[in-house]
Symmetry: D2
Subunit: 302 residues, 4 copies
């Protein structure tokens, strides 16, 4: 059979950075704390294409993905990023003309949460993983991995809180300002969606659950699926005693990482982004930052 992909392309000198498949959904079986969980994951699997080849053999990507992911039904993997890493490495074996491969995956993820143990239930988060394999000198392959997680929580605005207090102080001049200062003050509060991604140096490992806990710790309050009447008050009061801008969420999240991940190297790359779906606006408010764990340690130490 004629191998059309291997023929020379019309524009001889143009290599391409990424060619592959995307939107392939698969159930991935992962070991977690003595159990096996199933992620309904979506994958993007690409390699570069040298200028000498017309096409990339894409059926190899789908085939490899099936081999690695489908077999986890019998032999679960340690994590989403391990699956990505295995696929990225093997892609370079099956695409001998490629020098770099990239696998990106995301999935819904469930963890038990509750305002107290009697209210516990499984709540949904998102997992992200990425692996990039590069063929270096003497054919040695190195793999860079990143792991990310997203959690939805709540923010209460510290600024509207102040201006409400001032407004109400004017409206109720007989109320001692002292009273107004003691009570948690009304503000706008809303869903906050925060994502943290870590670029892990070789050998370093981190569990997604730790990223999610770090995010939840940086929002005004985590949110919960089951809240009986009294519980709602607890969450609302807690959030209003811990008001945060998106800027605060991002800074508090980043500033918490040196203590939470003491063993990760300074070179660990970090990306954090947070979105508050403002209740007083029709649009969202966002903050984003990129840094390294080393930078954050310098800041913290100073």
């Amino acid at each position: 059979m004629k191998d059309v992909h291997a023929t020379s392309p019309r524009h001889g000198r143009l290599s391409l950075r990424q060619v592959g498949v995307t939107g392939i959904k698969k159930p991935l079986h992962v070991r977690r704390a003595g159990r096996v969980i199933t992620l309904s994951a979506s994958f993007r699997v690409v390699v570069d294409l040298p200028s000498t080849r017309k096409g990339s053999d894409l059926s190899r990507n789908a085939e490899l993905l099936a081999e690695v992911v489908d077999r986890t039904a019998h032999r679960p993997v340690a994590s989403l990023e391990e699956a990505c890493s295995t696929i990225a490495r093997e892609l370079l074996v099956r695409h001998p003309s490629a020098s770099e491969s990239r696998v990106v995956a995301s999935a819904d993820y469930f963890l038990p949460r509750g305002i107290d143990p009697s209210r516990e239930s499984l709540e949904d988060f998102r997992l992200f993983a990425e692996a990039r394999a590069s063929r270096g000198a003497a054919g040695r392959v190195s793999v860079a991995r990143s792991i990310g997680a997203e959690a939805v929580g709540m923010t209460a605005c510290p600024c509207a809180m102040e201006t409400c207090r001032e407004q109400l102080a004017k409206e109720f001049p007989d109320l001692a300002r002292r009273e107004l200062d003691r009570l948690p003050m009304i503000s706008h509060n809303q869903r906050n969606r925060t994502r943290l991604t870590m670029d892990l140096p070789e050998g370093a490992d981190v569990e997604a659950d730790r990223l999610i806990e770090a995010i939840e710790g940086a929002q005004s309050s985590p949110t919960f699926a089951i809240l009986k009447r009294g519980d709602e008050a607890k969450v609302v009061i807690a959030a209003h005693r811990n008001p945060k801008f998106v800027e605060d969420v991002l800074r508090d999240l980043l500033a918490s990482l040196p203590k939470l991940f003491p063993k990760l190297p300074d070179t660990t790359g970090l990306r954090a982004e947070t979105t508050s779906e403002e209740s007083i606006h029709k649009y969202d408010v966002v903050a984003e930052h990129r840094t390294t764990l080393g930078e954050l340690r310098k800041n913290a130490g100073a």
Copy 2:
């Protein structure tokens, strides 16, 4: 040329309710208060198919849509629903074997809003329209139309407000309950998205702006794009003095309609649905209802 669509289908007795095209986007020019505005609208255009024909002539749908919508660049129409109505009626001319046609459209829509005139800007809403033409006895065609609109506003929860008050009364026994009752109390508040749709009897007409105003009047507070510091407090205080469940939003909206639309007939059909993107949960809370203006008038009169 052989007309494949007109040949007999394999399964001779099976007529189909709806066959057509969907996801066609077009700029539609509409007259509004002395100006012409442009809607970036998306259309679904279908007719039924009798059991005697293999296929529906879909190129006629795309052609008709282009004729009616593209010419509005020179001759704007009165409204999105008028465009739907014209297309629905003409579809039955161009599909002589069809007995019913249906055109559904939606578009972003902008209206000036502001907490005061100096803060006014264009904010975004959604418009919906639908027209169904039916071929009746003696070939007479009747057209049923519906018009809908969606607005995002804010709700503050009345229940969390009560339980926060109780909780804080316990925590601060020295604060007279009277003080706590006077102050607007903290609660969870969030984006609320409400849609109202009216099935209009022949001859009846209603402007989308009126539906949007009705929705905004039923939420705890409208929201605004531009809020300087003091403005935020006004919105937050107003919303907390007007706390609403989704149930309240829906009932208040429906109950307001008899007064707002005194001239519309009793047979006017109504659908209302509201979603609060709860700040204390990761999921949404919804309410939905269908009724008629006549029913609402009976309730109001009682």
Copy 3:
């Protein structure tokens, strides 16, 4: 604690059809052919609200959902629709003032597929389920269920095929028309997405896998994740030998059901909808129909 939900609403006579929660995601464990699979499912859980109550006790919905779904980790259920059914029934117990409940769910679903056994892998489909419980005379509760599935396949257009043949016959007058008629002719082909939903009478049961097979049987060809070079030709040739309009897909699907489901009662409700993401247009082509198995049997028998 004051029960705000139980107080009287402002607009005393307005009951609401549906009040509840939506967008709750949960892992649901389901028994399938000797194994347990995990669905990452999304739920909508609502009840009606009588005119005498201000609010519905929504925390009961989230609590019940957690109870029923989270426990499947230890005791898997038979199906998504069984889970919906259990929740719908129990909702009426926990909402004594409600007379109707409704649970809607959807999930990604994976089945092994391959053009031959050596190419088999897990491919993705969608599952849908709905259960409606109604409190009838003497408090007897009845539950109506529906089950749906969606599969992506391929259609090749029968009309463009004819006109291409005519065009090429003119261009190559020396080619005997007989030659042109023997060869599968070029056409536009594209992704087709078809959904079939069955409203099941009490006692009747159907497996989602059967719905998916029925859909795949009605498209020009199923599609596959893994296709090595020769396999692609097989799929392409098969699809071009079985060209279909969306109208054909829908009719062939519906016409196949009496034979595939001989034991289901005549009252079984059916909804089918199909969308071809046309390769020669920027928009989609759709067909939809609703009928009953009884109607289809009458047609088939005639």
Copy 4:
């Protein structure tokens, strides 16, 4: 009034790269070939935040956006990227503590298209624009802009075409291979979605319509809203005589740019990405590349 945003943050040394608002929709009026068109655009407007400030004054972003965009109703701008550029520059005036601003926008866009003049209608494309303003030495502000466009067209697979030919040659040994080689051969074809983005050096300008034409020229065939029966054959035959992998679309697009944009400088940055929504798979196939016009000129000249 207390200025909460201006207070010192808890974590004193942490500046943030991007803080702002996103998802603000606005109608933007743009001059185009003697007419004014209205884009329904969505904006993201952010600035950096120094370590010394707790919060960014986000109301300034919304206010500025309204000023610049709403006034285009009376004074239309030249382009989406001009609007972004104006906003980015003015952001640095209104946020004196920021050193970089970034405005990202996207909108549906309509151009007349038709297989011949009698079939012409408005078809939908997408526009993208971005502007980044930086405060340099001596307070001089420089603005980098990028402009992008996306067009949907059609690809027919060159590989399946070859294997179908081989398969059919085996099946019909009496058909001279010469016959099979002359006829356009069946293959899988599908929607292709391609986006081209240019990072423009200061002073350089390019019209979005040119990007869209470049994309359409690189696909197997453009697609059309209105195709009467004979027209479909023309598009299908043209696409099958011009079969392309995603790799070919991307290379042909990139290779065409030096000739299409002879006046743009070598430093013009380019990003191109293309997705084919494969008709024989449930997943998409993608290719991506980044380069400069200078690089492409070197390749072309060689």
